[in-house]
């Protein structure tokens, strides 16, 4: 698109990864659990193993939900940036293809929220 601005725009990508002090932003959303109104945003080192995300990071925001402790992590269906994928738990986020501002969604088959309400 042609830029329509009197004097153009300054080049200021405010959320480029360099601004996050070695971290990258990762969003994580739990499908069919709308008690959490939106996906959560986390600043994480790209070298963090995927397992670290699952066991260290996600519980802090998700474990208030009664379904969380019932999750069978081997059956979780993961979607990374719109494509289903199978994370390697021991590899880093980066090596799993999780980039800056990637959105990870996960589905937990059999767990459909409080009383099956998708909440």
């Amino acid at each position: 698109m042609a830029i329509i601005a009197k004097d153009g725009y300054v080049d200021n990508v405010r959320d480029r990864v360099e601004n996050f002090h070695g971290n990258q932003l990762v969003y994580v959303g739990w499908d069919d659990h709308l008690l959490f109104s939106a996906a959560w945003a986390f600043p994480l080192p790209p070298e963090m193993p995927f397992q670290g995300l699952v066991s260290e990071v996600m519980p802090g925001s998700f474990n208030d939900h009664p379904d969380f402790e019932k999750i069978d992590w081997t059956s979780v269906e993961w979607v990374l940036d719109g494509k289903s994928f199978l994370p390697d738990m021991d590899k880093s986020l980066k090596d799993n293809g999780v980039g800056h501002k990637s959105l990870i969604r996960f589905k937990t088959p059999g767990l459909m929220g409080v009383n099956g309400t998708r909440l």
Partner: protein, 505 residues
């Protein structure tokens, strides 16, 4: 018989024609450097006409009279402790959101119109914008004056302008007005005067202020309706400028249509906050968001666009989605506030049984099915003492900056609506196709967005912990959290208890 004074039209013409001139020492394009880069073609500014034909002397006369009336009400409200006549002190959450989220918009609009009042080449349009600049400043001031009375008695009203520039949910109105203010003058006026004021402002001021009356808040009703009396003039200006641009040159149509699509969606997203105010924050709601949307957008907005169709202008893009969302957005926005209520500058509270019955009645297709269960679940938790605010910072939409809470209402209302695009090697996330389109048309503008969640993680908001961030917002501990048990609540109970004793005596 005394000599008849000049008629309205003549007086208005004298005011607005001949106040400008063709400059000779400097080129006109240097004197008016802002009104051509957007591509809007104006061949004859003299065709501009303000239907209200308000001259400066009558403007001052009528505005002075409005002020006198307003301040008389404010004085008597204060003298008679009008705050004790509210339906409930929890209602003030709406006023807290208003003073922090809407009043700074008025001030932004003041600045924007002052700029236009200098930079439009046509003198008629300049005068209309100058009057509007003064109006908007008046609105900001009268709102501060009126609400300052509540600040003497209640929490959360102490630093609206400081908070507007910082708080996570206030970046929604801030980014809206700054998007308009950083556009060219024609886009600004299309955004504010037409998309916001003509198409949507009735939804903010009319049912909401009527709601204030319904909840015993005579102070707010008075400033609200006093502001709204100017608003009618602004709306008329908005309609006039659209018709003027469309009549001036056929090339203007696609530009205006795109602005219309963009600013309708921007303003509509902002009004999601108003939807929550109307349905949840008002103790008693005279009209639901959905009803207001039907009357003021579907019916009245529909009539407006039918009138404009003779110029080829179409209804704004995604208006059908906005109408479908009318069944959902107030519940979705209030849910996110309730779940993050330890980080809001106003009190949150779950809807009472009575309120939920009203919501079921007003939203028969959606409330019981999708939204009642979450409020009941939280209510049970509160009863059992296990309720906790959620721990985390939500993903935000790059354009409207609202947490990504909106869902696929047309296909699956329990599925969050995720949209994404790439630009310059980075990903950008959106709550809707409307916001995504806006980004994709001007990515250079929106990559600069100051997203509060990201700013916290970049270390620009006082510190990494919630108390540090809230302190940086100048939220005091008593400003946030549940209304029940708050300082406002206890004060209210004290007054009402005392009131009871007086009555018994």
């Amino acid at each position: 018989m005394p000599a008849k004074k000049l008629n309205l039209r003549k007086r208005y013409e004298l005011l607005t024609r001949g106040m400008g001139w063709e400059t000779t020492y400097q080129k006109m394009d240097d004197v008016f450097p802002y009104d051509s880069f957007e591509g809007i073609k104006i061949t004859d500014w003299d065709k501009w006409e303000d239907p209200f034909r308000l001259t400066m002397d009558s403007y001052w006369k009528f505005q002075a009279e409005k002020e006198k009336k307003l301040y008389a009400v404010i004085d008597s409200f204060a003298q008679n402790n009008g705050q004790t006549n509210l339906a409930c002190a929890s209602y003030l959450s709406a006023i807290k959101l208003f003073i922090t989220g809407v009043t700074p918009l008025e001030y932004g609009a003041h600045r924007g119109f002052a700029h236009l009042g200098r930079h439009f080449r046509g003198d008629g349009a300049r005068i209309a914008c100058q009057m509007q600049a003064i109006d908007e400043l008046r609105h900001a001031q009268t709102q501060v004056h009126t609400i300052s009375h509540y600040n003497k008695h209640f929490s959360g009203l102490h630093d609206p302008f400081h908070q507007f520039d910082r708080v996570w949910y206030l970046s929604v109105p801030k980014s809206f007005i700054e998007d308009a203010m950083s556009s060219g003058p024609f886009e600004f006026i299309t955004s504010i005067s037409f998309a916001f004021e003509y198409v949507l402002t009735n939804l903010l001021f009319v049912p909401f202020m009527s709601g204030a009356a319904y909840n015993g808040d005579m102070a707010t009703v008075t400033f609200g309706f006093s502001a709204q009396s100017d608003e009618s003039r602004h709306m008329t200006l908005g309609l006039e400028i659209i018709k003027f641009m469309l009549e001036q040159h056929e090339d203007n149509l696609p530009i205006i249509q795109r602005w219309m699509d963009k600013h309708f969606w921007r303003a509509y997203r902002l009004l999601g906050l108003v939807a929550a105010m109307q349905d949840y924050m008002l103790t008693n709601s005279p009209m639901s968001w959905k009803e207001a949307w039907e009357v003021y957008f579907v019916e009245n907005g529909g009539a407006l666009f039918e009138d404009l169709s003779r110029y080829g202008l179409k209804m704004p893009k995604y208006h059908e989605l906005a109408t479908a969302e009318a069944d959902h957005i107030s519940h979705q926005i209030w849910s996110v506030f309730c779940s993050l209520g330890n980080a809001t500058g106003f009190h949150t509270f779950l809807p009472t049984e009575e309120k939920m019955a009203w919501l079921s009645e007003k939203y028969p297709d959606t409330f019981d099915k999708y939204y009642r269960p979450r409020f009941e679940y939280w209510a049970e938790q509160k009863k059992a003492g296990t309720f906790e605010y959620q721990k985390g910072l939500p993903q935000l939409c790059q354009v409207c900056q609202i947490p990504m809470v909106f869902t696929e209402v047309q296909t699956d209302p329990m599925q969050i609506s995720y949209r994404v695009t790439e630009h310059g090697g980075d990903k950008y996330h959106f709550c809707s196709d409307g916001c995504k389109d806006i980004f994709e048309h001007e990515p250079e503008k929106y990559v600069q967005a100051w997203l509060p969640v990201h700013q916290i993680y970049q270390g620009n908001c006082g510190g990494p912990t919630l108390p540090e961030v809230l302190d940086w917002y100048k939220f005091k501990p008593e400003d946030s959290g549940d209304y029940i048990g708050s300082k406002d609540y206890h004060r209210w109970q004290e007054w009402k208890g005392a009131d009871k004793k007086v009555k018994q005596a």
